[in-house]
Symmetry: C2
Subunit: 94 residues, 2 copies
């Protein structure tokens, strides 16, 4: 179930920070890594989890792999959260 995977992926602060970085646009793995005090291997591990959760996708150019936000899954999460708040999301907003 992909839903569970998404929440797991979002549960780590490093991964959330990666997503925050990607708001600005696509970024290579190395570039992402330079924002953290961790080895590239560890960053790669986090990227893999984000990718499996469909929160990012990659595209290759030259020698680089660029990562990019994929926001489609976030809709689902938002819907679940707003369902907890006792109803439809749009119905609440004004």
């Amino acid at each position: 179930m992909a839903f569970a995977e998404t929440f797991k992926a979002l549960s780590d602060p490093v991964r959330r920070q990666i997503l925050d970085l990607l708001k600005e646009g696509p970024m290579s793995a190395g570039d992402i890594g330079s924002h953290f005090d961790m080895t590239g291997a560890t960053i790669s591990y986090h990227l893999k989890i984000l990718k499996k959760a469909d929160l990012v996708f990659e595209s290759r150019d030259k020698n680089f792999i660029y990562y990019q936000l994929n926001t489609t899954v976030l809709e689902e999460i938002m819907l679940w959260i707003s369902s907890l708040k006792g109803g439809d999301f749009d119905a609440e907003s004004k």
Copy 2:
């Protein structure tokens, strides 16, 4: 930092299911537990995490402790998620 705690709390399927149960209204610890194939001790552990994350609060009556959804923290989460989606939430809805 409470933000991280909330995400951690939401990352477990049992805890999300507990929140789903509580949508219907307050429920005693034992009643919640009866929906799962786990010991009461384990349910108590999950409830403690939800409580620390401010996702539920409790009230006592007779010999029971009733748990109840607290949705106020969810706003924050929603805001963060919608910020990923490249902008304000209300601005997107129509």
